[in-house]
Amino acid sequence: MKKLVPFRQLAEAAAVFFLAYACAVRSATADLNLRAQLVWGTNNDKPDDPKLTEVDQQVKEKLRGVFKWKNYFEVNRQSFTVIASAPKKVRMSDLCEIEVQNLGNSSVELKLYGKGKMVVRKTQKIKSGELLVLAGDDKNDTAWFVVLSLIER
């Protein structure tokens, strides 16, 4: 007697679905490869400090498009990986530290510490090609920036 409903095929299809969903769920908590840059913005020319380098053109253009300062110099750059189970602390300077936690689904929690105290906490979805920037003013009409971006592999 011919079966109207192919239960065997449906069972196989259900197994394929659960496998695909498991892969999707697994990839949703994938590790994040990030880059953090400590940038100094000023309208003056580059000072004679060998530790300062020109920030890359893409970041410079983006910062110029939003902020008033003309020149942007990279003070420090750190590349790191954040896994879902453990936040990552990264020292950007003697006074500045950040902590990044992978919340899954490309979301991160970014904490900025100044002189050991948490200054600001931000939760954000981070996308490839986009920047998450924590910024504030500094002395002599300059500004500091912590630029967080996703590293594409």
Binding site: K2, L4, V5, P6, Q9, L10, A13, A14, V16, F17, A20, Y21, A24, V25, S27, A28, A30, L32, E61, K62, L63, G65, V66, N105, S106, S107, L112, K117, M118, V119, V120, R121, K122, T123, Q124, K125, K127, S128, G129, E130, L131, L132, V133, L134, A135, G136, D137, K139, L150, E152
Partner: protein
Amino acid sequence: MINHETEVKLQACLDGELSPGEATTLETLIAGDPDARSLFEELRATRTLLAGNELDLKLPDTREFYWSKIRRQIELEERRTPAGDGPKPVSAPWVRFLTPAGALAALVVLVVIALKNSDASPSELALEDSHEIETPLEETSSFSFRSEAAAMTVVWVDSHRE
């Protein structure tokens, strides 16, 4: 005088329906009984006349053609309802194909929706920019804004510098 039974036997003898023993007995009777002989002759004459003057019944078709028509009709009926097969559901072939294909298509749609909602791939655009911001220090405040043109989210920390 012959009785009715003898009359019937005489007719049966003419038709060849008597056994050899009965036929011999009846022939003896016919030879010895004038009434039996007279009736036997009369019946034989009638039988001869009838057989010789029977009208021929002609069919409109020849014998071969007539029976071939019947054979063709039987074959036609056999082709319409093959022997041994019961009635089949009209939808059986497409149901066998479409049911698993439809289930597979539904699964593909579900997987795509699951992947889209989970935002698994880093290269995909985020659907929503959910965010939280906290500034615990009393002497600082902050505000957040986004520049779509620069593809950048900024949190400005104001330390109330004078």
